[in-house]
Amino acid sequence: MKNTGKIVGINKNMITVEFEGNVKQNEVAYAVLDESRLKTEVIRIRGNRADLQVFEDTRGLKMDDVVEFTGELLSVELGPGLLGQLYDGLQNPLHKLAGELGFFLQRGKHINALPEDTKWEFTPCVKPGDKLQAADAVGTVKEGGFTHKIMVPFHLPDRYEVVEIAESGEYCVKDQVALIKDKRGSFIPLSMMFEWPIRKPVTSYRERLDPAEPLITRIRIIDTLFPVAKGGTYCIPGPFGAGKTVLQQITSRNAKVDIVIVAACGERAGEVVETIKEFPGIIDPFTGRPLMERTIIVCNTSSMPVAAREASVYTAITMAEYYRQMGLDVLILADSTSRWAQAMRERSSRLEEIPGEEAFPAYLESTIAGFYERSGLVRLRDGSTGAITIGGTVSPAGGNFEEPVTQATLKVVGAFHGLSRDRSDARHYPAIDPLDSWSKYTGIIDNRSRNHTVRLLSKAHEISQMMKVVGEEGITLDDYILYLKGEFFDNVYLQQNAFDPVDMATSEERQKKVFSIIKEIIDATLDLNNKDDARNFFNRSRQIFLDYNSSEWDTNDFLENERLIRELFHKYRKAGTEIETHIFRQALVESEMDSHFSRAKTAKTKKGEKLTMVKEENEEDIQ
C-alpha cells in the first residue's frame, strides 16, 4: 500500500502534511491536484507532521488534499543521453517539454530525463564470471565523441559476479545489458541507466588527489595570473554589469576540459538562450565536434520555482560526478550561487528557523562548503583519473564582498576572481581586478614571475592615482615608465577582446611565449630620455602587440609582428641590465611581511594618505 498523507497547512511553496507510518527526510512526495501531481521534497519532520517544499506553484491546493510519499530520495537519472541536453532544476528536458506544451511550462508535468527510444551501440567489456563492484564498467557506448562507460550502479554495496552480459549491439537505455549475482545468490539485472540521489556525493573512487595540473581556460588573466586547477574550485564575485555571466560563457566555450555543465541558477533566462541557440553551431577546435555535444545545461532561471532552484546545483553536480567516474574532466559553471543561497534563505524563513547574518540560515556556510567539496581530482579504481572543477559566480548585494555568501565561498575556494565595476566601466574586459584577486594554485607561469607582475601592476596603479592629482609633470621619469609598463601589460595581455576570433582564446603555448616577451620588456631598463619618448615607445609597442594578439598562431603575420616587437624593443633596451630590481625592492619587502590579500588593502590606505598630502601641496602651488 502506498504511504499517503493529507495536507494540513499551506504557506507559499511550503506545505505541512499529516502522515501515518514512516517518512524519510528528503524523500520525494507528490501532492495530488486534480489531474496533476506536484513534486515535493520532505525537509522537516515533527511528530506526525512533515514540512514539504513544493517544486511548483501551490495555488489551488487545499486542506485534506492527498500527498503520496514515494520512499525515494530526490534523484536524477544517469545514463547515456545526458550530453547536449537542456534540463530544468529537476532534470526535466526543456526541449521535450516545449514540444509537448508550447510556450509555457505547466506544473505537475514530468518527463524522463533520458530519451528512452534512442538506440546506443553497446560494447561489453566483461564476461560471465568476472567479479565487479559499484562503478565498475560492464561495457561502453559511444556518446558523441566520448566513450561512455556503462557502470554498475553506485548504490550497490557488495561485490558481484557477472552472470550474463549482452552481446555487442544496439540497445535502449532501459534494456537489460547485464545480469549480476551477489554473494547470497540473488540476481540483479542491469540496464544502461540508474538513479542517484542528488544530495549525496558519489564516492566510488579510490582516492582524492591534490589538484596540481592547471585547467586551461584560455583566458590570459586567469591562466597566467590567477590559475584554476583541474579538480579545484574558484569563485567570481562581482556587482551587476561587471561581466560575470559573459566570463562564464566564454569559459564554457574555451575551457580545455572534456565536459562542461552549466548550472544557470536563478539568473536571466535570456542569457541561457544565447548558449542554447549558439552552441550547436560552434565547433570545438580540439575535438572537431559541436560544442553542444560536450555541454549540459541545467537551467532554473529566476522566474522558475524557487525550491527547484535550490535543487538545481545538486542536479548539476551529480551529473558531473557521474561523468567523472568515467575518467573525464568536468567543469561546472554555477551562475549564480547567490541565487541558490537566497533560495535556501527563503526556505529557511518559511520554516521559521532562527536566522543568521542577513537572514541567511545558520547552515549557509556548511552547505556552501559541502557543495564546493564535491569537486576534486580523483583516482578511480581502474587507475585512471577524473576531475570536477567548480566555478561559481557570486552576486553580492551592492557589490560588497563582505556579505555572507561571498565570505562563506571565499573560505572554501582555491582561487578568487574578483570583478570590479571600475574595470568594467573602463571597458577593460575581462574585468577581473588583478589587485584584489588571488589563486592558491600553480599555473602555467612560475609563481615568482606571477607575484612579480602583480607587484608591478599594484605599483603602476599607485602611480596612476598619484598622477591624477599632480599630473604627468609631477612624477619622475622612472615612475612614469613603470606606470606605462603596468598599463602596457594590462592593455595587451590582461585585457582580451571577446569579439576577436583569435584574441578571444589564447592557448597555453601562446600564453607562455607572449608572456615571456612581455616579461622581458617590463624587466628591462629602457633607454628612454623623456616622457614623450616613453609614451611613444609604449604606444607603438601596444599597437604592434594588439595586431600580434589578433594574428593567428605561427602564421606569417604572427612571426612578422613578433619580429617588429623585438626590433623595437632591442632598439630601446639598455644593455647589461637584466632586471630592474631597485624599483621592486620596497614592494618585495612588503610582500614578505604581509599576506597577498592584506597587502592590497594597506596599499589602498597608503595611496589615500599620499593623495591628500600631495593634493595640499599642489593647491599651495596654485595659490
Binding site: I7, V8, G9, I10, N11, K12, T16, T58, R59, G60, L61, K62, M63, D64, L86, L94, H95, L97, A98, L101, G102, F103, F104, L105, Q106, R107, P239, F240, G241, G266, R268, A269, G270, V272, V273, E274, K277, C299, T301, S302, S303, M304, V306, R339, Q342, A343, R345, E346, S349, P355, E358, A359, F360, S395, A397, G398, D425, G471, N618, I622
Partner: protein, 437 residues
Amino acid sequence: MRKIYNKITQISGNVIVLSATGIKYGELAVIKSERGDSFAEVIRIDGKLVYLQVFAGSGGISTGDEVRFLGKQMEVSFSDNLLGRVFDGTGRPRDGGPILTKNLIEIGGPTVNPAKRLIPSNMIHTGIPMIDLFNSLVESQKISIFTTSGEPYNELLARVALQAKVDIIILGGMGLRYDDYLFLKNTLESEGSLSRSILCIHTAADPVVECIMVPDISLTIAENFALHGKKVLVLLTDMKNFCDALKEIAITMEQVPSNRGYPGDLYSQLAARYEKAVDFEDAGSVTILSITTMPGNDVTHPVPDNTGYITEGQYYLNNGRIEPFGSLSRLKQFVNKKTRDDHRPLMDAMVQLYAYYQEVLEKKAMGFRMTRSDNRFLKYGILFERNLMDLSVEMSLEEALDTGWRILSECFVPEETGIRTELIKKFWPKEKPQVNA
C-alpha cells in the same frame, strides 16, 4: 458552491484570519464590510485557519463581517475593449467606464519555457537619442531607469509612451501621486495615444495591497496581447513603491527581514515580474521599461541592486539627463550591428570622447591650464550635452547619427576621433557644419 463565513477570529495589518474548510490556496474571497466590498486572497492555510490578505486594507472590518469565497483565483478580463481604459490595482475601472466581465483570464500565469525563447533581434525606436543611439531599447528587453525622486522620470516615461514604435502601451503606476497620474493620463489623452494604451494605476492614497497587484495585472494583459501577435511595451513606475509595499506586507506578516527591512524573497518577487518580458515565436512580444527610484541616489540600496541583477541593463537618469556612463543596454549589440554601419563605432567614439571631456573638466576644476586641445573637448562636451543628451531633444536614429557626425566635425579633425578611415570617408560632413552652439 460558494461558501459564506461570518466569524473572523483575527485582524492584524491587512491580514484577517478565520476558520474555514475546503478552501484552496490562492483563492479569492469577497468581504462585505461597512466600508464596502473588498477582495481578499488566501495567502496561508494552517489547519482550519485561513489567512486572507485584504486588498482594501482591514480598516473598518468587523469580526462579524461576511466573507464569501469565490472558488477561483484573481482574474482579469481580456479583450480589445481594454484599450483606452484606466483600471486600478484589482482591475476595477477607474475612469467611470463599464466593468468588463467577459473572457476572464487568470493573472500571474506560468513561466515561459526557456527553450522557446528567441534571441532578441528588433530595436524599439523611441526618438530619444540617448536611448536609440547609445543604448538601444530592444524588443523583449527588461530594463529599468535608475533615478531619484525629483527627476523628471514620469515625463520621460510619457515621452517614451508617445514616441515608441510599438502596438500597445500598458502603463502600470504604483504609489503614484494623484497629480502624476493625471499628468500621465492627460499627456496620453492630449497626444491621442490613449487609444493604444491601457492604464493600471495605483495611487499613493490607495490600499497598499493593490500596489503589488499592478505589475501582475499589467503583465498578464501584456502577455495575452503578445500571444495575439501584438508588440507590447509595459511601462512600470515606480518599482521602488512596489518593493516597499512588499516590505510592508512581509513585516506585518512577521517575516524575518533580510536587508533594510525588505523580505528575503525580494529578488524572486522582482524576477517573477521582470521575466515576463519575452519574444514569442510567430507572435508578439513584451518589453518592460520600469522606473526605479534610488533613495539618496544609492545604487547599492536593495531595490536598485536586486533590480540590476535581474534587468538587462539600466538607464541612469540624473540631473534631467540620461547619463552615458553607467547606462547600459545589455542587448544593444543584438540590434545596433544592423542599423547603420557607423552606429557602433560612432557610439563608442562619442562616449570615449565624452569621457575625456569629463577628465578635462576635472583638470579644469583643479586649476590646470587649458590647452588648445582641452578647449576643443570643452566645446565638444557642451555641444554633446545640448544637442543629444538634453531630454527635450527628439529625433530619429538617422538624424541622431548625423547630428553626432556634425558635432564631431565641428570640434575635431578626423584623426582625433579614433574612427576607422573608411567610415570617416563615408560619413564625415563635407561642408562647414551647422550645429546650434
